[in-house]
């Protein structure tokens, strides 16, 4: 379980798939979700398997989420702001059927 050992910023609230998450100013979306114990951010576009944060530094693109309606944002690079709407990205199941 993730634990915040120090509070330095202001509390900031945003939603992830409709659930309210309280973060701190200065957090990235990925850090805030990790701190809130949320490890699954999306499902793989190939197999649909759940995926979460991997590198936290913008390299792996595992943390792609939809932020305020814009898909494919790197949660580890986007700072949290009050009222942000973040949604998990669910693979592309219809697409898989079509190509099978």
């Amino acid at each position: 379980m993730a634990k915040r050992i120090e509070n330095t910023g202001e509390p900031v609230q945003f939603t992830f798939d409709g659930q309210t998450v309280t973060a701190q100013s200065g957090d990235t979306v990925a850090a805030a979700l990790t701190a809130a114990g949320i490890d699954i951010l999306r499902s793989s576009v190939v197999s649909g398997a759940p995926r979460g944060v991997f590198c936290m530094m913008g390299t792996c693109f595992e943390c792609l989420v939809e932020v305020d309606g814009v898909p494919n944002r790197q949660a580890c690079q986007v700072p949290v702001t009050e009222g942000l709407t973040v949604c998990s990205q669910q693979g592309a199941p219809e697409v898989l059927e079509a190509s099978a």
């Binding site: 200065g26 850090a31 990790t34 190939v46 590198c55 792996c60």
Partner: protein, 467 residues
Amino acid sequence: MTQHSPMEPTKVDVAVIGAGPAGMAAAVTASKAGLSVALLDEGQSLGGQIYRNIENGTPFRDGILGRDYVAGRTLAQSLRASDVTYLPRTTVWNISTDNMLDLSRDGSSSQLIADKIIVATGAVERPSPMPGWTLAGVTTVGALQILLKASGVVQEDAVLVGSGPLMWLVAAQMISAGTPPKAIVETTPKGRMAQAMPHILQALKGHRYLTKGLSMIRQVRGAGIPIYNAATNVRINGGEVAESVTFISKGKEHTIHSNHIALHQGVVPNQQVTRLLRCDHKWDASQHCFRPVLDGQGKTSVPDVYVAGDGAGIGGAKSAALMGRLVALAIAQEKGKALPERVDRLEAALASDGAVRPFLEAMYAPAPQFVKPAKETIVCRCEEVTAGAIQEAVDLGAPGPNQVKSFLRSGMGPCQGRVCGLVVASIIAERRKASMDETGYYRIRPPLKPIPLSELANFQPLEVAQK
């Protein structure tokens, strides 16, 4: 220093990409020499990886992160005091051969033209492909450290799996934070010390690093954390999320339960920008990675493009800053400016700082499991391509990473091969019995980072005549 100025520059003498130690030092020195400088970084704050969030440190966090971290503050301050234009949250997503940089900032794209470009984009963690490494809850060790530095968040009861100095450092930092790892699964193969010993005399010249390293390892052992040595056959188990890690150590199979497993196999140069620019690269057998080919002054094979810091080859923060200054001086000299400091002193300091490297490189070279993963292991995480599929593509005639990519889409996902590139190349080289230089690497194409189609439609290019 100028920041958020309404008139951002459209033309500069020097564009520095990356605001870690190399980039900050290069920018400050170039600016002191009288050159106009823009420092661009996609991150929110100065510091790069090692000095991440350096300007917002608290005494509590400084205490956990240690002296080497705090040392970065001076560099950040000198940058703030300089005339450098620092542009945070700015992603360089393309550079064309006429030195035009395509940038994305706060959701809109524009251009900047630079006489000289210093690539200071640092390192990325070497991939540790193993069964189960795509499960949610599995991160890199670096990711845990970033959480701590940037947000003061620590993962409790995490298991660290891998090898190398950074893993020990992060373990020590987690202990200081009061949330020690549950266990450390060390993958450094047996017999490495013997291979490293020939370099020990030279390494002693850099004894500060050796002492620090030993004291870190002692701190971790002293904290009573279980440490498993020379682990092999490592795999992660779980359904939706990681649940445990299984491995063999000292002839016995072990399973440790945790939902948070962190992997590390050292760091390697981030090649994206230098590959995009088609700089020549060569395989470094000691560091087990590709490095851009540079002259003594950080100059690549491509005119006007320089590299400083870990992107040039792994040397650590101190070397990165020294090299940043040297590269800036080389450019200043070429531009006929008076040099603000002496080159020979910097060169001597750089040589002495690097003395410990060959020892560390021999000691912590990646274990075979991660260089030649088993057939069923996923290598390309984005497109879920296994090691076995890559071998089959080679057998069908694919001679290198780009043809494998055309066959299998490995390296075609959003990470563009940042994670799988080195492993894909080594699987191909192994299969074809070819060298890494013959095998080569992915061609890197823009955009370096994804950009919305709508942002491209609203792109604001510079209205200058294209050469």
